[in-house]
Symmetry: C2
Subunit: 255 residues, 2 copies
């Protein structure tokens, strides 16, 4: 078998129509990490199946598809997970000092019990045997694949009007114990999913003044680290400024 | 400052219109890892700025925005990177045995020199100081944020008609040396970007018979690892099967 057997994807043009392209940007720019806006309304099996399918079509190193999805809807399991969060969160608050500790304690950082569905996305490090194409030198590539699945899920959920919140304040061993994960399985993302009352206009940590949105133009280098001048860099810099301003203002690139 | 200062995002309904929602799914299902289809046609600054903005609006732990983007267009730098790939790839081929080694050697696994732009996406582990909200217990969360940026970039590029290929067969120290990365900077993804002659219908590793697409329904558990029965699992199982079949057949959920 050769690559020639993979038929090309026939379409008149490769780029999407303007409206379709803008829908992708709108999902990206209006996606939020949701914690306090979940509604109890259930998520239908059809919608849940669509967003899990989006996750499953993420890129994966060596086509490992190393992910699993553990769906948690049982109130007892959720309350165990919430207790694990609460323990870690109390430790976390003590790591901040002064005013930041006060702000930290006011932030709601999870919606475990309010969200109708929680989803643990995992990575099975042994999914495709010991030697995997593309993972021979950077072993974390399988973990990166599972993270790509998370981002696909998140954007699909946004387009379905569902909020997603990624809860990361856990001791991993607590998640392992509660959800009975074998040693080869890495818990990657604990996600809360559900319908929401509203989406915030800005990321909450930006809105409360914790950290600002960084200017993209400062984050782009040319040919090597910290090299700021390069072929075409000045027009690109202007284009980056304009694109970031539009993303914030219109949440799309509609002209 | 409180969360109340973050104004809600006003819109009549949270979910996207059907066509817009289907555009997101179409980008997800028709995205490919491109290696051998790059065209020399340059990528305009406007399009490049849009897809980098998509990356910059990824979720990030504690709003770290830990990414940078090193753009590589210089043929000399590309050829150094390609030499680093070739060295690692020769080592990789020797890790496979028998027929798999032959198939491996036939696969084209990068488009470093053909793609007009290469982009290294990085993670700056010190971007937001020693204590970061949401990263107190799982230190890799910043790395996961940079991976989310990669997936945003990839989907935006697909909607713009551009191919992206993630090259992961490198010794990380080689990338660090060639691109002068400081110790605190982790190279996450080396991406090749450009216009393409076509997109393949299926992932290439599936097309050549290396590994099949897994059935999503086998990857979903309920309440804990390997528990397959659960509330609503049987209708969900049917919905998962149907959604995966549509994703493969139509590359969207258009009804």
């Amino acid at each position: 078998m050769t690559r020639a057997e993979s038929a090309p994807f026939h379409q008149a043009e490769h780029h999407f129509a303007d409206d379709a392209r803008n829908a992708i940007y709108q999902a990206i720019f209006s996606r939020r990490d949701v914690r306090s806006q979940f509604l109890p309304e259930p998520v239908s099996d059809e919608v849940l199946a669509r967003i899990l399918t989006a996750a499953h079509f993420a890129p994966s190193v060596g086509y490992m598809q190393p992910w699993n999805f553990v769906l948690i809807r049982d109130a007892v399991v959720k309350s165990r997970i919430h207790a694990a969060f609460a323990e870690a969160n109390a430790e976390a608050a003590d790591m901040f000092e002064g005013e930041n500790r006060e702000i930290y304690r006011e932030l709601k950082l999870e919606g475990i019990r309010e969200a109708p569905i929680n989803i643990l996305v995992t990575c099975d490090r042994d999914r495709a045997g010991p030697v995997v194409i593309g993972r021979t030198h950077i072993k974390a590539m399988d973990i990166y694949s599972s993270v790509c699945a998370v981002q696909n899920l998140w954007l699909a959920a946004r387009s379905e009007g569902l909020g997603v919140g990624w809860v990361s304040i856990f001791h991993q061993h607590a998640l392992r114990e509660i959800l009975a994960l074998p040693a080869r399985i890495i818990p990657i993302a604990y996600l809360c999913l559900g319908h929401v009352s509203h989406f915030y206009e800005k990321p909450e940590l930006e809105a409360v003044g914790w950290r600002p949105r960084l200017p993209l133009e400062d984050l782009v280098f040319f040919e090597q680290w910290e090299q700021r001048e390069g072929g075409g860099s000045t027009p690109l810099k202007a284009a980056l400024r304009e694109a970031q301003a539009l993303a914030i203002k219109n949440r799309s690139f509609h002209s």
